[in-house]
Symmetry: C2
């Protein structure tokens, strides 16, 4: 099965084969692991992925394999999880791999690139398109193995104090946005600002920020931004999907009995499905409440969206030119994306189009 | 966790609680089950769901819990799986619950209704919208418990010998289509025909059939219909998603150790994700090959699609008026669907729209 290949690709095959398979009549060993999460407890859907995962592992192992979840700061800061797991300070972690794009730009594609794939397409890339194998080849240098373990679906384009009429309005804009997206927006004259979630509302209120991107309605409504920056833009080109990963220290993965590896893999699958379902179930009502509370839904004007598209392409090409790992993953990702949209435009898209029009008719 | 509730809803909680939890140091018991599948071995993606499921159970239980998969006819015919599992002739089965709509019309919504939800929306309904609980309330009468275990995504609208210019062209049309969709199409003057996959190409060639709906490109290309009925229509309003279920005999479920129940649940999750990813990864190339082989992609004209929509609504209302179980599931399903499209039209849809237009530009 193709997705099993990543173990070999990550150079773990020999070590894995050396692990004795427990005799069937032997009781499964008691194992306790620590999980360092990048997500605070008040992120219901993403954070709950680590809890769902830990609970699934406990139940499926009949309580023999226990994963203790730790919030950011307990073992590692939110953006230090990959390093902490690679160094063995925690056996595993729950994180967005693009947090580490500065060290390893190719990891942008592990989470979801600007103008990348939607959630279902990206799941197909990871699982049946060689994506997880490619990501684990890169992560082998960091001494971790990764399994997809949560998706958000398409996010929103951000909260803006003023309407955006043209790409000229972006120049000098102080925008709370991070990572690879910040690099892209800088080429359009935006001034990206790093800022924790607790400070965003006040900064938008005082004018220290002009705009802020967060997640989607279910998470965004907790930040209470509609009064200070009511223009709520779509589509969420910055993050058409955000894939979360379970990252496991390679040596710890190899020491794990095969059945526990499979239980861990299964728990990642469950968390992946559960997180998306929770977002999908929660977002419609949250969107309604936000609109009732003053949020004004606005589509980016075509010229503005086109400027984002052009800027993204330029930064992608420039990064690919200087980084073979980035280029390899970029090319595989984009080829798969383009193929997916060939089919999507015949199947899902025209169906959704009809349903949305019928809904508007009442 | 909400999805755990279906066990209580299915009236199994008391029985479940009575099962002794194995002592942790005790070896897990050896269990062998038989699975009756509704799908022949040459359906790669759907059929492989049962194999993926069985292999996952074996690995996660360290070989102690074995599920033997059986093709249609070995234990039960394709449309007899629900009865066979309810009667205990097999411990479990892998089937489309809408095959049993004649006995239990509400089960239409367990698989995917005409003009129903797309795959991701339906997964959210099952997992976080109370859908699986509602389905299991209905299945309690049939002595089975069901877990979602495979999706196809949006299918195609069918292969037609002639172009469809208006809904008048549907009258007298001999259309290979089954189930609840056949009931809907009959109200538009279509003559539905039941027919096995092996006979379809010859029947279209001779004019015994005018049209046939099957699945989507990856499955359809094996039927070789492009030469005899080249007009390949979309969108697939008949089946915007097809959800497959693992069905388990209720008494057998209750006898299973809790850890094995969880392993089975996990394997269903894995098969659910794996099946969709395989379809998504395979469909683009299959669509290209079909087009190169003479298939002409055509959108249903708006008036024709509208006639399908009106006929579907009328049959749904009529069925709901005479069947309280159908009505209850219909209302919950449609309310969830309509909410999902509120969010979809802001997030996924505009993003997909932009990406498809950019792809067309090259």
């Amino acid at each position: 099965m193709k997705r099993r290949k990543f173990i070999a690709a990550a150079g773990l095959a020999a070590a894995g084969a050396a692990i004795a398979r427990p005799a069937v009549a032997q009781a499964a060993p008691a194992v306790t692991w620590r999980l360092a999460s990048s997500f605070p407890t008040n992120f219901d859907a993403i954070w709950s992925g680590a809890r769902v995962l830990a609970e699934a592992v406990r139940q499926r192992s009949d309580g023999r394999f226990v994963i203790e979840t730790h919030a950011p700061g307990e073992i590692a800061g939110a953006i230090e999880v990959l390093d902490a797991v690679g160094e063995g300070r925690a056996e595993c972690g729950h994180t967005a791999l693009n947090y580490f794009w500065g060290k390893e730009p190719a990891l942008v594609f592990a989470t979801g690139a600007p103008f990348g794939m939607n959630a279902r397409e990206q799941n197909a890339f990871f699982r049946a398109g060689g994506g997880t194998e490619l990501i684990n080849e890169i992560l082998a240098d960091h001494k971790v193995v990764a399994l997809p373990s949560g998706t958000t679906g398409c996010q929103m384009g951000g909260w803006f104090r003023a309407e955006i009429k043209s790409s000229a309005d972006l120049r000098g804009m102080k925008f709370r946005v991070s990572g690879f997206a910040a690099k892209i927006l800088r080429t359009l004259g935006v001034e990206p600002k790093a800022m924790g979630r607790g400070e965003i509302a006040a900064a938008l209120g005082s004018g220290a920020l002009d705009a802020a991107a967060w997640v989607s309605p279910a998470d965004d409504e907790k930040l209470d931004l509609a009064k200070v920056a009511p223009n709520y833009y779509y589509p969420g080109w910055l993050q058409p999907n955000m894939a979360i990963h379970l990252v496991v220290n390679s040596a710890k993965w190899n020491e794990l009995p095969k059945a526990y590896q499979e239980i861990l893999r299964s728990a990642a699958d469950t968390a992946n499905a559960e997180t998306q379902a929770k977002y999908d179930a929660a977002n419609p009502a949250a969107l309604r409440r936000l609109a009732e509370g003053g949020a004004k839904l606005r589509a980016f004007p075509p010229e503005v969206l086109e400027s984002f598209w052009q800027a993204t392409g330029a930064v992608m090409r420039e990064t690919a030119a200087g980084d073979a790992k980035f280029r390899r993953l970029h090319d595989a990702y984009m080829e798969f994306r383009n193929d997916q949209y060939l089919w999507w435009q015949v199947a899902e898209y025209p169906f959704d189009n009809f349903m949305i029009r019928q809904r508007a008719r009442g």
